[in-house]
């Protein structure tokens, strides 16, 4: 139930970011300096934290989506669905533990 709610909320959020992200990337076709000015806003600390949240949403949606595929197509998927949910959460923690320090270093680091 909660995995289903979280899957919806993260999917909804990712979709709206995707719309904005295609629009901002399309500025490469306007002029290099226009693109650089807009993508520059992605580099401030508040956006950096937003990006961490976006990546968290994507990582959860990805691992839980694979869990849904296993529930639907693997014969023992339904039996192990709850155990797989804990695996999803564990993989989420491990992936974010790998990503966050590196990303926060990029965002808050000196250069």
């Amino acid at each position: 139930m909660w995995s289903w709610v979280a899957h919806r909320i993260t999917g909804f959020a990712i979709f709206f970011f995707l719309l904005v992200h295609v629009l901002d990337t399309s500025l490469v076709r306007v002029a290099p300096e226009t693109y650089n000015a807009v993508i520059g806003t992605y580099k401030n600390p508040i956006m950096g934290i937003g990006e961490a949240g976006l990546v968290a949403a994507i990582v959860f949606h990805a691992f839980n989506g694979l869990r849904i595929v296993l529930i639907d197509f693997w014969a023992k998927g339904v039996k192990y669905q709850k155990r797989m949910f804990w695996i999803v959460l564990a993989l989420f923690v491990v992936t974010m533990a790998g990503f966050l320090p590196r990303h926060l270093m990029h965002v808050f680091g000196g250069n």
Partner: protein
């Protein structure tokens, strides 16, 4: 279509005027597509996030020259094009499901889906055109914004 008596489904189909609860094979195709595209998208998007945010200089290193450097390689264009199409269809179909679940009025559902389809088509067409017509060395660009492989102006 045959109906199963008292199926104890997680959500009973909402009865009501003009509310179709099944669309036959199209819904099955949509269900299969979400799973197949989802698995492919995990690979495409994790690769995208790793190359753009983790390897190299991270988000601070992304600028026009970075994008031009990637798209100089045809494989990244194919990667990004596939990612654009699959993610947009996957996301649009997901939003369609959410609209069907929460918008109770037929007219509201219709208008939300028209808006959704229009935005999705606009974004997919725009993104596709950008990938196909991208010029890594546009004439008249500001100094220092172009990748190093562009000829000196």
């Amino acid at each position: 279509m045959t109906t199963i008596a008292d199926p104890k489904a997680p959500r009973a189909p909402r009865p009501g005027p003009g509310r179709r609860v099944t669309r036959g094979n199209l819904e099955l195709a949509s269900w299969v597509f979400m799973r197949v595209s989802g698995v492919v998208l995990v690979i495409l998007i994790f690769g995208h996030l790793f190359v753009n945010l983790v390897a190299g200089g991270g988000v601070k290193a992304i600028d026009f020259a970075f994008v031009a450097g990637k798209w100089a390689d045809l494989r990244w264009r194919v990667w990004d094009l596939l990612m654009l199409w699959l993610a947009m269809v996957h996301g649009t179909n997901g939003l369609r499901t959410i609209i069907n679940d929460y918008a109770e009025k037929s007219a509201t559902r219709l208008w939300l889906k028209v808006l959704l389809a229009a935005s999705a088509i606009l974004v997919v067409v725009l993104g596709t055109l950008v990938i196909f017509t991208f010029d890594p060395c546009p004439v008249g660009a500001a100094a220092g914004t172009l990748p190093s492989f562009c000829p000196a102006p």
